[in-house]
Symmetry: C2
Subunit: 343 residues, 2 copies
């Protein structure tokens, strides 16, 4: 670990720096620990079984604002963002555990709202709530979810398998969740300044739903399986397309070219960006929280992917020396990760 | 769930009430979800494999006070209390995930201290840190650990298998962790009143270590296996002997008689209780955090248990109609659970 007795501020490292720093001091001892820190989920197993485990912690005031996030939506989203990590391994989520810390400013009815969202997501995705912990908190609400899933060894997809010439694909559309958040933040500011003004959310149903009630793309995993396509690498888009592209390229030791005009953006997202005077491409690249899947696949899968309206081919994998690039109007723009810097 | 739009205070329900309330609205859908909420760990599996999953959340100001708990010890303890839950299923812990939320008042060096304790426990117990999440917190430190373990189906022990005439056994000794906490709290109060007075912890090494650096009794699981003893029920003592006896009796639908003079209490625990004017038996019954194992076993195992200095036969299981009782000086005292009421 670090030398000396100095004080190193966490901001300097950032979240990914901290994770790398921790991961560097870990060595796996058990033969059943196949993959540890560094992918969307850990992989555990022996013989022909693989168990996937992923965990996420949501903190009030950092990841959500109860000023505009209904508890039921929060519960739903807390589950979905974890299921999405299992999808990113090409796996099937089966169980979750949910731990919550909450202060006694919440009555039982609030906890029931939260759990009704949790259980609604469990039912929709056919996963079981099998355990957890409930405790008090001296301040805000904290939710920690761990998801357990399975995948056959031959179907498992890591971040590290992308190879030059592979197609780069993304599901759904991007940027909507971030713009939904911006609309909610705007209305909150207006309300704080003048509580008599009702929030104006009209026309923003799509982007608000993308922010408040995202879905895990288990349907994409099913479609790929039906088409007989096993991605060469995959990651879910929680921090933004740029950041996820950097992860794939770094862990696969490749470069990439992504064509900006091919990045799928919904019309409603474009309108909201215009209304808020934001660059919609920047929102799609760095906004995050879309929980779509970014994957690479052999060019042999081209015809099986191109006609599926739920998937978009946005570029291709190149040699590592080419770098991580956007292609816009014929010119090459090297990508810088922005990611998600809560720390 | 509840009727009406009233406000039900969480204090009225308590932690176990809240868990029961949540558990009542859960139905398991996946065939691999064998056991859900209600034991020390969830049980997942198919065929001849069983995966055990348990999770715990530790919150600053509720479960620990950084005023006297060193971060390294905190990390160690956060792992151990989870491993203990896998022991309670007669299983072997193999992996952990660790999520932390922390404010930027902590420098990197503090996080390294925390992780050095986490990794020290991982190394000692041969478990692998395979994942987690790091995020910022608007206030205190929150640590959420999930542990994954395995057990052969025929070796798995639940809380519900105790039968009348079974022996009731406990490992190690009880009450020390609670008295260690009382000493730490006392010295903190003195320090707050007069910061020039150095804390006086002399002579309390044993009980302080039991509070600050508890161990998971994987050695007891190994001993039982070597002796060919499979307990009929088991639970780890996190909330106190009384509370755990109530869980075993309720979930096994039995009663019990536990002889107070047989409850193992270390001499150092007795001395500390005297110094603090506390009743040592109450500390042993309700103190909690000892992380010893409470188990029941067939009377046929009597000879294999009685000569093992690490285990103590403290009573026997009776019919449910007999109730949950202590026997003290020949008289029967019905037990009331106190448990651990943070909410």
């Amino acid at each position: 670990m670090l030398e000396g007795n100095g004080r190193t501020e966490l901001e300097k490292l950032g979240e990914f720096g901290l994770i790398d720093h921790i991961a560097a001091s870990v060595t796996l001892q058990n033969p059943s620990s196949l993959i540890g820190i560094g992918d969307d989920a850990a992989v555990i197993g022996e013989g022909d079984r693989r168990t996937l485990v992923s965990t996420d912690m949501l903190v009030e005031g950092v990841h959500f604002d109860l000023g505009y996030v209904p508890l039921k939506h929060l519960g739903y989203k807390a589950i979905v963002v974890n299921l999405s990590d299992i999808c990113a391994m090409n796996g099937r989520p089966e169980q979750v555990t949910v731990s919550i810390a909450l202060s006694n400013r919440f009555p039982l009815e609030a906890i029931e709202e939260l759990y009704s969202g949790i259980l609604m997501a469990c039912e929709k995705y056919k996963v079981d709530l099998v355990g957890g912990d409930t405790t008090s908190s001296t301040s805000g609400l904290v939710i920690s979810v761990t998801v357990i899933g399975t995948v056959a060894p031959q179907d498992m997809v890591l971040r590290s398998g992308a190879r030059p010439t592979d197609l780069i694909c993304v599901s759904g559309d991007l940027g909507a969740a971030y713009l939904g958040l911006q609309i909610l933040e705007r209305e909150k500011r207006i309300f704080v300044e003048n509580p008599s003004i009702q929030p104006d959310l009209t026309g923003h149903d799509y982007i608000l739903e993308r922010q408040l009630k995202p879905e895990a793309r288990t349907d994409i995993i099913d479609m790929l399986r039906q088409e007989g396509v096993i991605p060469t690498s995959m990651i879910d888009i929680s921090d933004g397309l740029s950041s996820e592209l950097m992860h794939i390229c770094k862990q696969s030791n490749v470069g990439c070219r992504v064509y900006t005009e091919r990045i799928p953006i919904d019309a409603a997202t474009g309108l909201a960006a215009e209304e808020l005077h934001l660059d919609v491409l920047t929102c799609a690249l760095n906004g995050g929280e879309d929980y779509e899947l970014l994957f690479t696949a052999s060019i042999r899968a081209h015809d099986r992917i191109k006609d599926n309206p739920a998937m978009h081919i946005i570029g291709h994998v190149t040699e590592s020396s080419d770098g991580v690039n956007l292609v816009s109007g014929g010119s090459l723009i090297p990508l810088k990760a922005q990611g998600w810097r809560h720390l």
